[in-house]
């Protein structure tokens, strides 16, 4: 019990004002005795920091969301003055037991469906309708040095219908679709869903699509610029 108490006191001394009994320790540092003396002042860390601009804070623009699956009333878009806001289901309650990820909703929806944890309807009214699933992988060679893209039709047809993508977003023809990351981030091509609802394109998700290693002996393409046409 005494050890526990000492431990707590040690924790307390980190955050609270050091008692006046230590004022004599502080005197050689030239601090006025009348001021309340903090442990930070004794070590001299605070007066230095006070003069430093707040713009120098580490990771100033990298704001981390501490509560990514907040309840509707606390998520910043639902009106707390609306009574029904409190009747809505909080996401965390629904996500319990589902496989997690580090991005998007923090739920691995495809895995949850594969594992049979979810059973979403394929038809509006009839829960018995089975989805029309097509298992066809499309390999898309990438001109940059990142691994090639493998597009699996299977997880897409489990959720979607052919007409969602073909022929409007993706022309169902070889070499007819030009896709690049800029277009995806701008919400075109794959970005119609990826980056809005399905997993977003970010540094944690590159390898989900770029999953096929370059063939042996692959070299980066040489520039097509010539003396006559330096800008191609």
């Amino acid at each position: 019990m005494k050890n526990l108490l000492k431990g707590l006191a040690a924790v307390a001394s980190l955050s609270v004002i050091i008692p006046v009994a230590n004022a004599s320790d502080a005197a050689p540092l030239g601090l006025a005795a009348s001021k309340p003396i903090t442990s930070a002042e004794i070590t001299g860390s605070v007066p230095e920091k006070l003069n430093v601009s707040k713009a120098n804070v580490f990771n100033r623009l990298l704001k981390k969301v501490k509560d990514p699956n907040a309840a509707p009333a606390d998520d910043g878009i639902h009106d707390r003055a609306n009574e029904a806001t409190f009747a809505l289901q909080p996401p965390k309650v629904a996500y319990e037991g589902l496989p997690t990820t580090e991005f998007g909703n923090h739920v691995d929806w495809v895995k949850a469906l594969d594992d049979g944890l979810l059973d979403p309807r394929y038809d509006r009214a009839d829960p018995e309708v089975e989805p029309f699933v097509m298992d066809l992988d499309i390999v898309r060679p990438v001109s940059a040095s990142v691994p090639d893209v493998v597009f699996p039709h299977k997880p897409h047809t489990q959720w979607l219908h052919c007409s969602n993508c073909h022929p409007k977003i993706f022309v169902p023809q070889r070499l007819a679709n030009t896709i690049n990351m800029s277009a995806i981030i701008l919400g075109k091509k794959c970005g119609v869903c990826h980056g809005k609802v399905s997993f977003p394109p970010n540094t944690k998700t590159c390898k989900i699509c770029h999953s096929k290693p370059k063939p042996a002996g692959w070299k980066p393409p040489l520039s097509q610029a010539t003396v006559k046409n330096p800008w191609r």
Partner: protein
Amino acid sequence: MGAKVKRTSMWKFALLGVLGWVSVFLMPQQAEAEYADVIINNYADAAGMRPVVFPHWYHRIRFRCKVCHADLGFKFKAGGNKITMAKIIDGKFCGACHNGEISWSVENCGMCHSGIPGTPTHISGSTVQRLVAPAYKSLPQ
């Protein structure tokens, strides 16, 4: 240093410390709307209603994308469907299910019209929203 603290005052410091740590965890944390929540404010503000918040995650647990985006004709665009209450009561868009048979009906206004007034139409957490074209009006923090 600790040795100089009287035993009688130790309890006070221990209590203060514990309270300090508890208060850190009770601080209001920065929250963000769920990824892919759609805020639809085409007509709501002008009609004196709260904007609609559509929880994508709630619906995708119960239905596959195909049901709404292929069968019911919802376009892949926040605010791009020009949904009105007349169309919903007519059985189109949300009204295909929110009709009192598959799901609750339109008399529960506040269940959908639950957004903070003045929030612009956007899809929460999207790359376009975050990196390319942030909502034209600052979102409430």
